[in-house]
Symmetry: C2
Subunit: 269 residues, 2 copies
């Protein structure tokens, strides 16, 4: 069984980072993946120390990216913000910085142009990432987020970008975003050692919201065992992170959420 990691967004309505660190320790969850807002609220140095003291592995920092912007000033600001994210990821010893690359600039219909902005943004920050030893984990997001969150839509597309950018890049593969992909197995094998993060949650039927209706592993239709097996066959030996954006689960007691997470993760095997 791959070790489990808690992505802090899973319990974001009730817990800050300190509670997440304590919660992981209390429930015997060996990994954590903070979002930058809770990291900033706690303070990077204090967070780094408490994560280390709790003996947790940091499976990733969420998130860099969001490169496309309507003008050059906006794109430069995004790049500066990504540089800060790299420094934060380094400070907390994160295995990677998860890159949610961004959607179309407001008012734009130029999808190839937005994709070029993503490639340019990644190229701009890659020297700092390499110097810091922080892997940029390109995360393809579900195509339903293409307009407003990520023009990076498939694992194949992410790997093409990794090929173009070279060392210091990898992929974060989230079952929710890629489970439907008819060429997923081939691209997981192609990814190989470039799988820098593995995320799970489930696809509910029906899904009632494009962002905040993800399912707890086991409650939906994704073959998560098969997904994890594909990653393992490709050589992945890291943590499995549960990243659940769900109004339903945000309304629950976080200790209950962590217990269910552990049970479901154990059931995947």
């Amino acid at each position: 069984m791959r070790p489990l990691s808690l992505n802090t967004v899973t319990v974001k309505e009730a817990w800050g980072l300190a509670e997440c660190i304590e919660g992981c320790a209390r429930h015997g969850i060996p990994g954590i993946s903070p979002w930058r807002d809770v990291l900033a609220a706690m303070g990077v140095e204090a967070a780094a120390r408490q994560i280390r003291d709790a003996g947790l592995t940091v499976s990733g920092l969420c998130r860099g990216g969001m490169f496309p912007a309507a003008d050059a000033a906006g794109r430069a600001a995004a790049i500066e913000d990504n540089r800060r994210a790299i420094a934060e990821a380094h400070a907390i010893g994160a295995a990677c910085l998860v890159m949610v690359c961004g959607g179309l600039p407001p008012g734009s219909r130029d999808l190839p142009g937005a994709r070029q902005m993503v490639a340019d943004g990644l190229a701009a920050i890659l020297p700092e990432a390499r110097a810091a030893g922080v892997t940029l984990a390109l995360e393809p997001l579900h195509p339903m987020t293409c307009a407003d969150r990520s023009v990076l839509s498939t694992l194949a597309q992410a790997l093409d970008l990794c090929d173009a950018l070279g060392s210091g890049t990898g992929v974060a593969v989230d079952a929710y975003h890629v489970w439907w992909d008819p060429v997923l197995a081939a691209n997981m094998a192609r990814a190989g050692s470039r799988i820098a993060g593995l995320h799970i949650c489930d696809w509910l039927v029906p899904t009632t919201d494009l962002v905040f209706d993800r399912g707890m592993p086991g409650d939906g239709v994704i073959d998560l065992g098969g997904f994890q097996a594909m990653a393992e066959a490709a050589g992945y030996a890291g943590l499995v992170e549960v990243e659940l954006l769900s109004r339903r689960w945000w309304s629950e007691d976080p200790d209950h959420v962590l217990r269910i997470m552990k049970e479901r993760h154990a059931a995947i095997g």
Copy 2:
């Protein structure tokens, strides 16, 4: 400018097929694409006659498909229903039968298995389709519909199926379903003369429903001019069909909807 076609679902709350036929004639829209429910309500022979009398081209019949089922009896029933759909498409002189292939069987997580059921179902009905001269237009649906509507998710996947099945098959390409695809242009070129239907509507930001919140062309972020140009470059010279599943537009006067459709289609060029 490619000639326009009205998919009847666009005004389904207010108009039956007879009103759609009259509406197309009144607005100078040269094509129509009925759904099977309104066709059945009018009667196939009456519909065929009135469509012919109105001088309309039938850009497609919606829809065949829905092959995956939990048991063999269910799959056999789906195949029988598809045979009736082929006969109806032939009777009204449809350019193609649009295939919405179906999602996972209830309770299943076996996506490769469901995809095999689709391939098997298509192979089963292909002899009848060929005999009737009805092209089976495989329509890749947006990945957000993979669980419950279509395990056929990309144009590349649809073309792989066409390659395997051979003559009598083609693709229906709907901008809404494929606009995000990083390899769309290459696969439109690959499709070439196999493009049997071209559908447009728009992706709204935000999109508030996974099925019934499609946008009127021009109201969203899809580069529909570029989309149409890709199809034309691939050799497509047929009608452009507006298929709009939208609670917002269903609440409008259908004559208003048709006027707006025409304006927006003209603006695409």
